[in-house]
Amino acid sequence: MAESPLIAIQQVSKRYPGVLALSDITLDILPGELLAIVGENGAGKSTLMKILAGVITDYEGQITLRGNTVRFASTREAENLGISIIHQELNLVEQLSASANIFLGRELRRPSGFLDQQAMDRRAGKLLAELECHIDPSELVRRLRVGDQQLIEIAKALSLETGILIMDEPTSALTESEVARLFRVIQRLRERGVTILYISHKMDEVFRLADRIAVLRDGRLVEVLARRETDARKVTHLMVGRELAETDVSSPRSVGDVVLEVDRLWLSWPRHARGWRLEDISFALRRGEILGIAGLMGAGRTELLECLFGASDEVPSGRIVLDGQEVTFSHPAEAREAGVALVTEDRKRLGLFAEMTVGQNITLCTLEQSLRGGLLSRGLEQQHAEGIVSRLGVKTACVEAPITSLSGGNQQKTIIGRWLLTQPKVLLLDDPTRGVDVGAKAELYRLMDQLCRQGLGIIVTSSELPELLTLCDRILVLCEGRQTGEFSRRDATEQRIMEAATMRRVSASACAV
């Protein structure tokens, strides 16, 4: 290696109680390169980047930057030395304007000591224009689209004259055109000599952008590959440590009669230019069928499931027929009683009870089944919980263990188990494999297939198309709240679904500009 490294990571380890998150990582980062860091969830990508950016401050090992040993005590110190990080969950103050966010902590002042708002707006506007982000710098961040918000973070990094930019899965919430814009921005940054560390698990992006690819697995650095000398298959293989097992859920299922019918469903969106979250959605779900719902972020997937579960803020109009009976749910409790179950998208925020045990998380919806003489019976409750644990193969020490001691996949099974106890007719799964590693994903697929064969009607959303293509009998595509496509298993391809998912209305895109 002729060039001397810009950053040398030497034998860095990070230990959490009971877990070795990073083990003995040694990695050189060359000036001006774009190094992609890939790995499964929990492989340690984010941990390593957080150490580099000064977010995590206690670790073993040593980091040298331009030949000097450094140990950041805060992100501020890292920023001062030219390292910025853009987190997957953006780190902006939503109540402040774009320019205020860009200059947060380093506000420009007039000689009198008061804020120089005009100068900040002017400079922010210039920075944003360089990034093809044509917004008013004094606009509040919460009114902006995710893609623009992300560019604000990048503008902030630019204003710091960042030489090293870390991006943690930057495209996960972007539309196609925003992704294209981001890639152009990345290209421009590289021309300016910025070194970029790019975390992703999307092979197409990695192979389009990267010079080198570092593969992490279970906290270890498996290999660093030059892009030209490898291919996606090889990298995927290194990431999971085995060839991706084709989950066998493809054998035909026998589909029964209609269990859920949705007819002309509209959901309003007050105080929003679009006016409707969902427009004129109609479909039917049969017993023993998995219906997939595809769509980009903000297409209305979650909103649709919430409508079916009585959890939407506004009352939808239209007809929902469950098992031959027209229903209107004003509260999830009614949906639950009628036989609809929803496993929410954001497990931590909307699904788990972190203070409770595995068993208590399982039985929460169906405590009536554990009553003896009007009071809760520990024995009955444990029996029900253990039934689910063994039926779904939840890996836990015992049902009394805290739910937080489980891995993401097992937590998800626990929540699915909670709903299976309610004996639903229709199971709604909102992006159930989010934050779940590959091995556990395959298990969840098998579980869904198995439940489906037992006669359950399942609706599943996902942000990963291949997942829907393996799992579903039919796929419904949403775009900006409208139903823009429906494909049977035979007809569905990634290409066709993406076309439908980006089928914007002309007037709508005109409005957006």
């Binding site: 509260h331 639950r336 203070e355 009071l375």
Partner: protein
């Protein structure tokens, strides 16, 4: 296998109740120290025990309600004023139903069971109405619990004062007064005979334990406190649960209001229950309830109340002069900070080398702590002791800062 399981169960039980064991131990230590330094406990052990238990029970009754509200993820700041308001309602009902003498003034010496029942039932009903108002403001109007109950804290006491004046003006010939006297001896026993409040407290504690630990509703209250959005999406009717929680909070305060009124034979809303809401919240927090919700036990709350009363009593016994009431606030404030800080530190035990006195804030904080302790020592012991305590704390603080600096291998880089 069986042995291992029971062993695990015992360990789980011990872990679950570690907070209670700690409290129990501390209570015993405080009692032993008090007995060592003051002759009061040695001379009249039974009388002291009864007095502590009576005081504990009076506070405990509405601390139970506060704990349930806190576990469910809310906060009830109104209990002190609900106590005063309930006392006024209870006394007013008694006054209205009491037989009248020739001059037209009610005679409250001998009221009889019917009047007691009516007064207590009426007061509890008012408690229910107050709780309902809170729940409506919080769930339907969307006020934060802090604001809704703060409004009652301010408003209800004022309303009670006006109400007492109106009642006395219309029911007696003596005109407007700020207090209502109830001379009935049997009624006053409710608050003064030590075992009656104790029985009420224990009975209510049992019911609260049953509710929180053994019923579906209780489990749902914990779930709502731990994660309200997830609870709603699990089909739990969170609005109904809040209604229940705030009603329990207000009704336990109403019961306490009856007992406090009985204790002194007077409804005097200007001072009755003043500031008690914080004692109840403090007892629940010291007992292990998390203000974030979802965590806490009835048994812990009971011990938290006992602990608070024991420390207040012990300080009163050791200091010997001044009224114990004057010191109550200092003790409660100190204990709350200590208990919560202790819990926080126990949870954040990752050994990140937390700095207690960082930067300029640390320097001023050392000064504040030394000044506070020095002042307290001056008041309770004497001028010299105050100076010594002040000096010692300054030295200790300086030493702590010095150690911080040494332990930091890499001095911060200034950009």
């Amino acid at each position: 296998m069986v042995e291992r399981e029971s062993n695990g169960l015992a360990r789980r039980w011990a872990r679950l109740h570690s907070n209670e064991f700690g409290l129990l131990l501390t209570i015993l230590v405080v009692v032993a120290l008090t007995a060592l330094f003051s002759s009061a406990y040695r001379d009249k052990p039974l009388q002291n025990l009864q007095e502590i238990l009576r005081q504990t029970s009076l506070l405990g009754v509405f601390a139970l309600g506060a704990a349930i509200v806190i576990i469910s993820g809310g906060i009830d700041l109104s209990s002190g004023s609900v106590i005063a308001f309930s006392g006024a309602i209870c006394a007013s009902i008694m006054l209205a139903l009491a037989p009248v003498d020739e001059a037209g003034n009610p005679m409250t010496q001998n009221l009889g069971a019917g009047i007691y029942t009516a007064a207590i039932a009426g007061t509890l009903a008012v408690g229910f109405l107050i709780g309902t108002l809170h729940a409506w403001l919080i769930t339907a109007v969307g006020l934060p619990p802090f604001v809704a109950t703060l409004a009652s804290l301010v408003g209800l006491r004022s309303l009670a004062r006006v109400f007492v004046q109106e009642v006395t003006a219309s029911l007696t010939t003596t005109g407007k007064t700020t207090q209502i006297y109830i001379y009935d001896e049997n009624f006053s026993k409710l608050g003064t005979t030590w075992w009656i409040p104790l029985c009420i407290f224990c009975g209510l504690s049992f019911l609260a334990w049953l509710l929180m630990s053994r019923t579906v509703v209780g489990r749902h209250l914990y779930a709502m406190g731990g994660n309200e959005a997830a609870a709603r999406l699990s089909g739990i009717r969170t609005d109904h649960l809040k209604w229940l929680a705030y009603c329990l909070g207000a009704m336990t305060a109403s019961i306490a209001g009856i007992l406090y009124t009985a204790e002194v034979g007077t409804s005097y809303p200007q001072v009755q229950g003043l500031g008690y809401e914080l004692n109840a919240i403090a007892a629940a927090v010291v007992g292990g309830c998390s203000l974030q919700g979802g965590v806490g036990l009835i048994s812990g709350t009971m011990l938290g109340v006992l602990f608070l009363r024991v420390v207040i009593d012990s300080v009163a016994k050791i200091i010997k002069f001044g009224s114990a009431d004057d010191y109550e606030g200092i003790i409660v404030g100190f204990l709350v900070v200590l208990a919560v800080a202790f819990n926080e530190l126990r949870q954040a035990r990752s050994g990140t080398g937390k700095q207690f006195f960082p930067g300029a804030l640390g320097i001023v904080a050392i000064g504040v702590l030394a000044l506070l302790s020095g002042t307290l020592a001056t008041i309770t012991v004497g001028k010299q002791a105050g100076m010594v305590v002040f000096g010692v704390l300054i030295v200790l603080g300086a030493a702590s800062r010095f150690r911080q600096r040494v332990s930091r291998q890499h001095p911060p880089q200034t950009g």
